[in-house]
């Protein structure tokens, strides 16, 4: 099993969710986050004062998938989250050791 974490542009969330559902991903967890990559921040001007905003708002999407779903899931996020402009985000993939469904106690791929 793999654990996929994608950092995406906030307005792309709906498309990413649809794309992941379409390839059979059963559930995702979404968090509003802030951070920076190559896009860096921007400056804001209030009356005379200028502030550099280092951290830009992004959305973090997390999903646990079966090994055989991984390629499709990555492709789905890549396509749906892309605008071609700087700041589209990144996808991180981790090995996932164990999954437990709390209600039934199922473990492993059946719990996904």
């Amino acid at each position: 099993m793999k654990f996929v974490t994608a950092i995406i542009k906030p307005f792309k969330l709906d498309e990413v969710r649809e794309a992941l559902s379409a390839v059979g991903v059963q559930g995702i967890t979404v968090t509003e986050v802030k951070g920076f990559g190559r896009q860096k921040g921007h400056t804001e001007l209030y009356r005379g004062a200028e502030y550099v905003v280092d951290f830009l708002p992004k959305v973090k999407v997390e999903a646990a998938v079966r090994d055989d779903q991984l390629e499709q899931a990555i492709e789905a996020v890549e396509k749906s989250a892309s605008t071609g402009k700087i700041g589209d985000g990144k996808i991180f993939v981790f090995d996932l050791e164990q999954v437990i469904r709390i209600r039934t106690g199922e473990t492993g791929p059946e719990a996904l």
């Binding site: 001007l45 209030y46 005379g48 004062a49 502030y51 905003v53």
Partner: protein
């Protein structure tokens, strides 16, 4: 009958200078039979033969509504305007400081403030004659700017009280985000007592128009008025008394309380310009009561003040954001809101004296000049006036006070100065002379407010300390001073 007396006085008026009329008329003039004659200085002249004037219901109704307008512009208007400009961890502290200052001054006003400001005393202070509003009853009346026209004194007390309360609340913006709550309260008591009430007396107190029946009577009555009123300073709704007064106290506070911890290193961007926009809009709305209400009557002057308040504000919002667009690259919501407030401030002393074209010029200049006030001037001054109380209210107030002297001229579409002895607008109007008088008024207010503020802050510092500890400042005043937070994420 009274008109007859006044007409007889026409001749004397040619010899003596016209009594200028500044903003608010004061205390009871023709007191009803129930109240002591001593409380009615102006009643002495013709009242013996005329029945006591009865408040006009329309004027009374308008003043009641106008007073409520001024309360709305303070809370929540001013509180939200300021609140949106601070960081989210200090939101409640600013709302609280404005809310509680407003409440505190309201109480002090009826206990002794009104008496000190609006009873006859000397040229600088009133008396304690109406301590605890002694002698004021539902039948008591206060003079307006028209002979024989009065309003109920209770609503006059309330209207002026709302002014006192919002003036003190304005100061909060200058030392926001680091001052001790108890220090705010003690400072407000001191400054209100020794700066607000005397300046209000100096600029606005007079015995009312009814006694101005001859040049001699006028001279005698003028001698009982406030110092700047005697000089003929024009301040329709409080450019000096409210804005310059509060702005100077704020600037002194910004120096004496010191800069916010981390200024220049930590981002101190406004946390909600949405609230700031709502606040600015409520200020604009409430200012119709503030300015048009200052006519004290529901008449043409009130209508002029209303329209001027609308148009000058719109001009200033536009000029600020256009200047910002040109020099800073983008027109901002904060710029539009700040420009509107700058325009409101600048038109305040002028609104009942200048014509619409004067208002447009005042508004356009106010927007650009106050933008400089929060940028160039702020850097020169070097004080951390957190929410630019001086940059907007000080600069805008001084500009407005001076330009009132220019655009009140009938030659420039203004109303001129009304001569209560001749019962008509004075024939001559010297812009230079009036400018000089206006500048004197500005100077006295700046010096008076600054001196009182320095002493008051020093005293508070010695007694309870001005600032919260640095850790509390970093954590935010909402939690550390008030034990609650504005937002739950």
């Amino acid at each position: 009958m009274r008109k007859l007396f006044a007409a007889l006085a026409l001749l004397g008026a040619m010899v003596f200078g016209a009594p200028a009329w500044a903003q608010d008329a004061p205390a009871a003039t023709a007191a009803p039979a129930m109240t002591a004659a001593a409380a009615a200085p102006a009643a002495a002249v013709p009242a013996a033969t005329t029945p006591a004037p009865v408040p006009n219901k329309g004027d009374n109704a308008w003043l009641i509504v106008a007073t409520a307008f001024v309360m709305l512009m303070s809370i929540p208007g001013l509180a939200l305007f300021y609140g949106g400009l601070v960081r989210s961890k200090n939101m409640l502290s600013v709302l609280m400081q404005v809310f509680v200052t407003f409440s505190l001054i309201s109480v002090l006003w009826v206990i002794y403030g009104y008496s000190l400001a609006f009873t006859e005393g000397n040229a600088f202070f009133g008396s304690f004659d109406k301590l605890f509003l002694e002698g004021v009853t539902p039948d008591s009346v206060a003079a307006t700017f028209s002979k024989g026209v009065v309003v109920s004194e209770y609503i006059y007390v309330a209207f002026q009280g709302a002014f006192a309360a919002i003036t003190c609340s304005l100061i909060v913006g200058a030392f926001a985000e680091r001052i001790k709550f108890s220090a705010v309260l003690l400072f407000m008591v001191l400054w209100f007592t020794f700066a607000y009430t005397p300046i209000a007396h100096i600029v606005w107190y007079w015995a009312g128009p009814d006694g101005y029946v001859s040049a001699q009577a006028a001279d005698k009555l003028n001698a009982t008025a406030g110092f700047m009123f005697q000089k003929g300073a024009l301040d329709f709704a409080g450019g000096t008394v409210v804005h310059i007064n509060a702005a100077v106290a704020g600037l002194v506070g910004a120096y004496l309380v010191g800069k916010r911890t981390g200024l220049g290193n930590v981002a101190m961007a406004p946390h909600s310009l949405t609230f700031t926009m709502i606040g600015a809009s409520l200020l604009w709305f409430g200012w119709f009561g503030f300015n048009a209400g200052s006519a004290l009557e529901a008449n043409g002057t009130a209508a002029l003040a209303f329209l001027n308040t609308w148009i000058a504000t719109a001009c200033a919002a536009l000029s600020w954001l256009v200047a910002e667009w040109i020099f800073k690259g983008k027109p901002s919501m904060l710029g539009a809101a700040s420009g509107a407030v700058a325009g409101l401030v600048a038109i305040t002393p002028a609104c009942g004296f200048v014509g619409l074209m004067g208002a447009i010029v005042i508004g356009l200049l106010a927007g650009v000049l106050c933008l400089w006030g929060v940028n160039g001037l702020k850097r020169i001054l070097g004080a951390d006036d957190s929410l630019d109380v001086f940059g907007v209210h000080g600069v805008g107030g001084i500009l407005g006070a001076l330009l009132t002297g220019v655009f009140a001229s009938p030659a420039l579409g203004g109303t001129g100065i009304y001569d209560y002895v001749a019962n008509k607008v004075a024939d001559s109007y010297s812009i230079t002379d009036q400018l000089l008088v206006q500048a004197t008024g500005v100077g006295i207010t700046v010096v008076w407010s600054a001196v009182v503020a320095v002493v008051a802050y020093k005293l508070v510092d010695i007694l309870i300390g001005l600032r919260v500890p640095e850790e509390e400042e970093r954590e935010g005043l909402d939690l550390t001073s008030h034990g609650e937070s504005a937002y739950h994420y």
